[in-house]
Symmetry: C2
Amino acid sequence: MDWAPDSVIVRLGGEIWIKKSWTRRWYLRRLVRNIRVVLEHYDVAYDQIIRRNGRVFVATCEAQASAKRLSRIFGVSSVSPALNTGTDLDAIVNVSLSVAQRILTAGNSFAVRCKRVGKHPYTSQEVCRVVGRRILEALADRKVRVDLDNPDLRIGVEVRDDLAFVFAEVIKGVGGFPLGVQGRIVGLLSGGLDSAVACWLVMKRGCSVVPLYFDNDPYTGESVNKRTVEVARVLSDWAVGFPRSLYIVSYGASLKEIVEGTPRRLTCILCKRLMYRIAERISDRVGAEGLVTGEAIGEQASQTLRNLRVLDEAAERYPVHRPLLGFDKAETEMLARKIGTYEVSARSVEGCEAVPYKPATKAKLEEVMEAESKLDIKKMVDRCVGGLAVVSL
Amino acid sequence: MDWAPDSVIVRLGGEIWIKKSWTRRWYLRRLVRNIRVVLEHYDVAYDQIIRRNGRVFVATCEAQASAKRLSRIFGVSSVSPALNTGTDLDAIVNVSLSVAQRILTAGNSFAVRCKRVGKHPYTSQEVCRVVGRRILEALADRKVRVDLDNPDLRIGVEVRDDLAFVFAEVIKGVGGFPLGVQGRIVGLLSGGLDSAVACWLVMKRGCSVVPLYFDNDPYTGESVNKRTVEVARVLSDWAVGFPRSLYIVSYGASLKEIVEGTPRRLTCILCKRLMYRIAERISDRVGAEGLVTGEAIGEQASQTLRNLRVLDEAAERYPVHRPLLGFDKAETEMLARKIGTYEVSARSVEGCEAVPYKPATKAKLEEVMEAESKLDIKKMVDRCVGGLAVVSL
């Protein structure tokens, strides 16, 4: 759109409005902090970030560029590049008209909408009426017309106390809650499609994710490691201002003990149970409140409802959160495209060679525990946690 | 569309195709059983249901009506009302032409697509070419034309071994896995938006849900009970052939003990922990593999990441599945509309009067356990489970 906005209106998700006032204030503060670090991280120039009546306004000479960045900040429901104006009706009308002159072409239909909070000598309806009439008069030669139901272009006026803005576009934001309003969570990240989307979903709801990767070498190869690092980087881009690191556990030796010392059909279940236990210890260390995994019901043999119960039993002190439980693969893929992990995650890599041909789909807890009794679980956990590496992304 | 199909092509979700052959066969058998009971339940006349090469074909004189029903069966990715034809090219061409004559109007563009599995004396491309040419010739007076990229209408030909069909419409199905391929799960159903959607999501992935409702009378009123029964009925309509019943626990007396005997800020957390414990006992009784709840991170004070950990601790023997963890309210609402529970769930009812003004958002497990030590939890659970009512829907 060929006009030069000097601000961005940032709108918050509807869910924030039903919070109690103190919670809402805290969420807003967090959001403003996140906005600041994102703009600074991406070198987007801005003059100030203003909070007013539950909206956030960013004054910036790079409004279009920053609107795009801002729409990808968790907690933002939509953004609009806008022109700042005085709150007196004349000023609003003049700026609205100049925007209309830039964006309306011959024969276009338009509508004017106004949202107003605070005390002003005019009503919202008055603003719409006056602005609309003025545009019709001034652009009579372009034969523009009003269409309230299905206009070609919408001109928006937003008045909040001492501030007023005119905008012509609403860009959908990513939604959710500001990152950091919930606690920390350890994300079991394999580099595949599911786990990355699962981590992103809890980030969207405000949780800071500590990504944890189990390196299964020699059962998987270097390409899997590389893929995971790349996926973790994409996720980090959604969490600017939060630590950019990947926790890596050398898991191959433990997996070897499982493969060689227990029934093959139980390999995946025993492998995951051990992962949960290690992740719990790492949760202790980083002060997390739980684990998050990419498991979806029935997605793999180890993820039948029965097996999920057997897996869950191994996590004794933290909940295992599985935001993809009800997702179809196609839905997860769609989300991965939006997040930006799809390209990397869908890349063909060698599968884990430890996966048996016929894995158990209905494991019994007793047989699993009997198999585990043949392993020195405590030693395996200690070894893995002891050898933990933290890689900067 | 004004033509008289005599069959419905039922296509399965992509995820079913990556299952091992024995799992896939079992899923298909289950799907065919579910199709049969749905058609019989809704009195849709059909002659036979045929499985062939991973597709299901339903021969029915009510193809349009049954297509709509079939598209809402879990495991179905899409359906097409279709005309059955012989597999020789002449027959296919003739039936395709008769369909084209019915649906193509003057100036329409069209494309022909063919999917073929089995041995036939022609290729798929040949079918498209011959059918397309024949339609162009026969409908020359209507000035129809071929547009492979963006046609007004698509004519599809599906050949599987000894069966062939022609169709002109693909209706999106609900996806997921056939209901019943996973085990049973106890669904904590409040009648509100979230819990119903959560139950539906695990049903979509194949789980049979046993809906469990806690009647908080006198903290909630009769309207809440009524609403839950209605929501449970809507969910049951997605599970034709499975038990239509609602499990109801009289919970008011227990909630009263919590409200009166423990710190008010912990009421919701203690209430939910007790619900989990009761639900576990009911899981034992019905042979379920876990619980499912509508909790989403940060959606309510009791659902902060910290509090979810404290809640989870109370479920000792079953996993608590929370498919909405990463959902925004707006996303849940959208799904509720699709499911059909929105209208009922969004109805205004009295809120629970036991909810405190300032509930704890960061409860500590120790304080929660101390508060519980003042209650006779075992007695409360026994009383609730003892008074369980099972209501037919």
